[in-house]
């Protein structure tokens, strides 16, 4: 019951019903049209041949009188497949012909009109068969009446044949349509049921489950692929949420415990106002540090969960880098170094100005802290070039570099290499750079060059078509839009 009701309610069923109905009506119309026009055509042929014979026979009568007419008709009736003839005198006696038993009205009204009649043919032995014919009756001079007709047997047989063929065709077509649509709708239902079942399973908690593909690349496969992509994205987001909570739990505990210890120590040991003041000042510093970590973590999490399309717009990289260089030039100079930029004119990329600027700032500040060569001035090089349809943005220094084994590790959260522990910092700067690079569809890569260390991120260049899709909001390139916030 439920299965049947469900089936009847499906779109596929309704569609197939509609399809069969439309098809039946159209086939019916076609059938009627074809049989009617065939019939018309054949009747026309009959009329023409009857008219031709009548004319010929009346000519014979005019030229040779009744005797010649009788002879001609007698002659013609002997041919196989002869037309129908009947010649009567004024009193209604048949003189010659091959018809018997004709409705009398046909003979009485000898007005030349065309009639369809039932008759019985003479000269076929004792067996008398009732047939249909098309006849015309004429009155000749002298009170004679002449009937000429054509048997409709062939025509009727042909019509019946056609009608039967068309009816059979109609039945076959409808049956085939029903079968096909039943099959299709069953398949469609099964695919939809599969997708529903999988989604229920996923909703119940198994986020690793994916919809299966039939491999036919039809619209169901495309739907499944899109849904799977969506699930992948959701899984990544959930994982990153989990990572952030884990990190917060793990890494904020250390400074919080330190804070607690300091307060407890102060309460236990401090006796003077200066003692308390000192303890409060150090706890304030500790909370500042905590808040910085917290903000950095939140920012990374936010970047990781952003929808790329919503925050990016085509940006002039030369200008972006020049503005950052202008901000940092004096600082680098004061540190006894040099900041160089090498950006080709007119190089643009789809990116978020604020985030990419922060990436450059983090990398420059990193270079300033750790990229100083043992002797001489530090040179920080900001460069960008287009390569294989991507834009490579590189920040390089001329410092000692980092051990090869640590190249990937430095990007992880809270990882600070031994040498850097003494420097202030949260250990989150490069994680943010990496998150921003990922948001832009690229990645962050470190490399020890011949001299110094280079950090490279790659961005999508401005594509000719969809480049305008990013909604910009002033300088920060930011807005809520369909991709979703």
């Amino acid at each position: 019951m439920t299965r049947l009701t469900r089936f009847v309610r499906t779109t596929a069923f309704k569609l197939s019903l509609l399809y069969v109905a439309v098809f039946t009506v159209m086939s019916g119309v076609l059938l009627v049209y074809v049989s009617e026009s065939t019939e018309d055509l054949m009747s026309e042929q009959v009329v023409q041949s009857v008219d031709a014979e009548l004319k010929g026979l009346s000519d014979v009568y005019v030229r040779g009188g009744i005797r010649d007419l009788v002879e001609t008709i007698d002659d013609r009736t002997r041919h196989p497949d002869a037309s129908l003839y009947l010649l009567m005198d004024f009193s209604g006696n048949a003189l010659v012909g091959n018809i018997s038993r004709l409705p009398t009205i046909v003979l009485e009204e000898a007005d030349g009109g065309l009639r369809r009649v039932r008759y019985t043919r003479l000269g076929e032995g004792t067996q008398e068969i009732e047939r249909q014919a098309m006849v015309r009756t004429f009155e000749l001079r002298g009170g004679f009446r002449l009937l000429v007709g054509r048997d409709l047997g062939d025509q009727l047989r042909f019509s019946n044949l056609l009608a039967n063929a068309l009816r059979l065709w109609l039945v076959v077509v409808v049956v085939m349509a029903v079968i096909t649509w039943l099959f299709v709708s069953r398949r469609v239902m099964k695919r939809i049921d599969d997708i529903s079942a999988s989604s229920r399973m996923i909703m119940n908690g198994d986020l690793t489950e994916r919809l299966s593909l039939a491999g036919t690349n039809d619209e169901f496969d495309r739907l499944a692929v899109n849904l799977n992509d969506m699930l992948d994205r959701i899984e990544v987001l959930m994982q990153s949420m989990k990572d952030v909570t884990d990190n917060i739990a793990h890494d904020l505990k250390t400074p919080l415990t330190r804070l607690q210890t300091r307060i407890e120590t102060a309460l236990r040991e401090a006796s003077s106002e200066e003692g308390y003041r000192g303890a409060l000042e150090s706890t304030l510093n500790e909370t500042d540090h905590l808040l910085r970590i917290f903000n950095a973590l939140l920012r990374i999490a936010r970047v990781e969960s952003m929808a790329p399309g919503s925050v990016m717009e085509p940006t002039d990289l030369k200008r972006l880098v020049a503005e950052i260089a202008e901000l940092y030039d004096p600082l680098v100079e004061d540190e006894g170094g040099r900041l160089e930029t090498h950006i080709p004119e007119g190089l643009t990329a789809v990116c978020n100005r604020d985030l990419i600027s922060q990436v450059l700032v983090n990398l420059i500040e990193n270079a300033l802290k750790y990229g100083r060569p043992d002797n001489g001035e530090i040179v920080i090089r900001l460069s960008a070039k287009e390569k294989d349809g991507r834009v490579d943005l590189t920040v390089a220094d001329n410092g000692p570099g980092i051990p090869d084994k640590d190249l990937d590790r430095v990007m992880d959260r809270f990882v600070r290499l031994e040498e850097s522990r003494s420097e202030p910092g949260t250990g989150l700067g490069l994680s943010l750079v990496k998150a921003v690079a990922r948001l832009h569809g690229g990645d962050l890569r470190f490399k020890n060059e011949d001299v110094g260390l280079s950090a490279r991120i790659d961005l999508a260049p401005v594509a000719p078509e969809n480049s305008r899709s990013g909604h910009g909001e002033g300088q920060s390139g930011q807005a809520g839009q369909p991709a979703g916030n």
Binding site: L291, N295, L298, R299, R302, M306, S310, V311, E323, E326, L327, Y328, P330, L331, D334, N352, D354, L355, S357, Q358, V361, E365, L368, P424, G425, G429, E473, G474, Q475, S476, Q478, A479, G480, N485
Partner: protein, 228 residues
């Protein structure tokens, strides 16, 4: 003295704010939820509204939107635990005048409130020339002179000085400078702003008797005539 309305649901944060503002000599009222806050803002005239973003009954952004719809243009500073770039844009779009992510230093809040209160009410009130002591900045001619001496400035230095002079006598924080002069909405770890300030100081104060550009420890900078 300013009349300030604080719309904030956390009682501790609110009393901290009200107390801090009172100590600065302002009059501060407090509303604990969005509806109440909106009514108070509409009924009495305040110089500044400090609105928390997440509030019971009516959220901060809706309060601002409602106020602006009613034709009320009191400057609004939005406070929010949501400090990300896009939240900030949403806040300003809703009609907020400034956006301060929580947690914030009180000095930062103070500096921003004073900047908001001094904001010209309409465009034709914008001055074309700023002057502090014997330092004048002509915004039309893009020139700067101190006494009789013409001081050449780079474009960014000009904007930096322009912003400082626009808020002459008030404390301007590093974050405010980074936001308004450079249009970046993140905090660098290093003292990059300090270096720019010290260069500017080298141009406008060096060789003159009274320094005008002062560093306020733990807060930011201010430009003012020592005589005042």
């Amino acid at each position: 003295m300013l009349r300030i309305l604080v719309i904030e649901d956390d009682p501790e944060a609110a009393s901290y704010l009200v107390k801090g503002l009172s100590e600065l000599g302002h009059t501060a009222d407090h509303a604990a939820d969005g509806q109440n806050g909106l009514q108070m803002a509409l009924l009495s005239s305040y110089d500044i509204l400090i609105v928390d973003r997440m509030l019971p009954k009516l959220d901060g952004l809706s309060i601002v939107q409602e106020l602006r719809r009613e034709g009320n243009h009191t400057p609004v500073l939005i406070l929010s635990a949501l400090g990300q770039v896009d939240d900030r844009v949403k806040g300003l779009k809703a009609g907020g005048d400034d956006y301060l992510p929580k947690p914030y230093a009180f000095t930062e809040l103070q500096a921003r409130i004073e900047a908001l209160a001094r904001r010209p009410k309409s465009a034709n009130q914008v001055e074309t020339t700023y002057s502090v002591g014997d330092l004048t900045l002509d915004r039309m001619a893009h020139s700067c002179r101190r006494g009789e001496t013409e001081i050449p400035l780079q474009p960014r230095e000009f904007r930096l000085l322009e912003y400082l002079m626009q808020h002459a006598g008030q404390v301007v924080t590093r974050t405010m400078l980074l936001e308004n002069v450079w249009e970046y909405h993140f905090d660098p770890q290093t003292n990059v702003i300090d270096v720019h300030i010290s260069r500017l100081r080298g141009k406008i104060d060096k060789g003159f008797e009274t320094p005008l550009l002062h560093t306020i420890r733990g807060a930011g900078y201010t430009i003012r005539d020592a005589a005042h």
